[in-house]
C-alpha cells in the first residue's frame, strides 16, 4: 500500500492526507490541494485509507474516521 506501511503506520503521503482530512469533509481535489499531492495519488490513497477504515466516504467527499483520528493522534504525540 502506498499510504500505509506494512507495520500499519501511514507513510508520509498517507499522513499528509490524514492531516488534510482532519480539517473536515473534503473532495479529492480539495484534499490534493491541502496535502500538496497530485490528484491521482490522492484518489488512490483515499481508496486505501477507506479500505483500512481510516477515512469514510460520503458521496464524492471524504472525512477522517474515528480510527483515522486515533491514528493521527498517536503521530502527533
Amino acid at each position: 500500500m502506498a499510504c500505509i506501511s506494512p507495520d500499519g503506520k501511514p507513510t508520509e503521503s498517507g499522513t499528509r492526507m490524514l492531516r488534510a482530512l482532519k480539517s473536515g469533509l473534503g473532495s479529492p481535489e480539495e484534499i490534493a490541494k491541502e496535502a500538496g499531492l497530485p490528484l491521482f495519488r490522492v484518489r488512490s490513497g483515499l481508496r486505501e485509507l477507506t479500505q483500512a477504515g481510516l477515512a469514510n466516504r460520503k458521496d464524492e467527499s471524504y472525512e477522517l474516521s474515528p480510527k483515522g483520528g486515533e491514528l493521527l493522534g498517536t503521530l502527533s504525540t
Binding site: M1, A2, C3, P38, L39, F40, R41, R43, S44, G45, R47, E48
Partner: protein, 216 residues
C-alpha cells in the same frame, strides 16, 4: 482470420476511450480513473536496467516540470516487477542524480500491455515496445506513437504534440507541419461554398479557400 480481426479491433484507436485498468505501480495501486480530469501520457519501455530506456527515463524526468505546467501526468510501464522498478529508479538517481517523480506500472501479467497493444511479437514476444499514449482529461486517446526497441523517443516532439492538442481544443483550430507554440494555426476548412467565399474576406492568411492560417 477471425482471431486476427479480433486482435486488430481490440487495439486502442484514436478518438476512442482509453482501456480501463487497475495496476500495481511504484506509487501503489492506480486505476486509469485516478487520472480523470488531467491529461495523461502512458508510455511503455522494454525493460528496466537497459541503456536506451535509462536515457529515456532521465529525459522524461527532465520534461516532467514542463508537462506539469500543462496539466499532464506521466505513467510508465514495463513487464517488470515493482521491486525491479524501485531498484532501477534508485539506481538512476544514485548514478545520475535524476529523480524519477512519476509512477511505473509493474505489468508482469501483461494485462495493461495487451490491452494497449504494447507488445509487438515481431520486435519482442516478452518486452513492450516504446509506446506513447496521450490521453485527454475525458480519457479519450488523442495520440499514439510507437518507436522500435532500438530508437529512443524525442521529448521535444511529445511536448509539441501536447501543446498542439491543447491549442486545438482551446481554439478549435488545427496545427500545420512543424508547428510550434506562437506559430500561425490552420483554420478548419469550410463546409459550404458560402463559407468558402466568406473565409476569403475574413483577413486570414490564405493560400486558397481550403488553406487559411491565422495568428492566435
Amino acid at each position: 482470420m477471425e482471431e486476427v480481426r479480433e486482435r486488430v479491433t481490440s487495439l486502442p484507436r484514436l478518438g476512442e476511450p482509453a482501456p480501463a485498468f487497475e495496476a500495481l505501480t511504484t506509487h501503489g495501486v492506480l486505476k486509469l480513473d485516478d487520472f480523470k480530469g488531467t491529461w495523461l501520457i502512458l508510455f511503455s519501455h522494454p525493460a528496466d536496467f537497459t541503456p536506451v530506456c535509462t536515457t529515456e527515463f532521465i529525459a522524461f524526468a527532465e520534461i516532467y516540470p514542463e508537462l506539469q505546467k500543462r496539466g499532464v501526468e506521466l505513467l510508465g510501464l514495463s513487464v517488470d516487477s515493482v521491486s525491479s522498478h524501485i531498484a532501477w529508479v534508485r539506481n538512476v538517481e544514485e548514478k545520475t542524480g535524476t529523480q524519477i517523480p512519476f509512477p511505473l506500472i509493474a505489468d508482469l501479467n501483461k494485462e495493461v500491455s495487451l490491452a494497449y497493444g504494447m507488445i509487438h511479437p515481431g520486435q519482442s514476444k516478452t518486452e513492450t515496445v516504446r509506446c506513447v499514449f496521450i490521453i485527454d482529461p475525458n480519457q479519450i486517446i488523442r495520440t499514439i506513437l510507437y518507436y522500435p526497441l532500438t530508437t529512443g523517443r524525442n521529448m521535444d516532439e511529445i511536448l509539441r504534440i501536447v501543446d498542439a492538442l491543447q491549442t486545438t481544443d482551446k481554439n478549435m483550430v488545427a496545427t500545420p507541419a512543424n508547428w510550434r507554440p506562437g506559430d500561425m494555426v490552420v483554420v478548419p476548412p469550410p463546409n459550404t461554398q458560402e463559407m468558402a467565399e466568406e473565409r476569403l474576406k475574413q483577413g486570414y492568411e490564405c493560400i486558397d479557400w481550403y488553406l487559411c492560417k491565422k495568428k492566435l
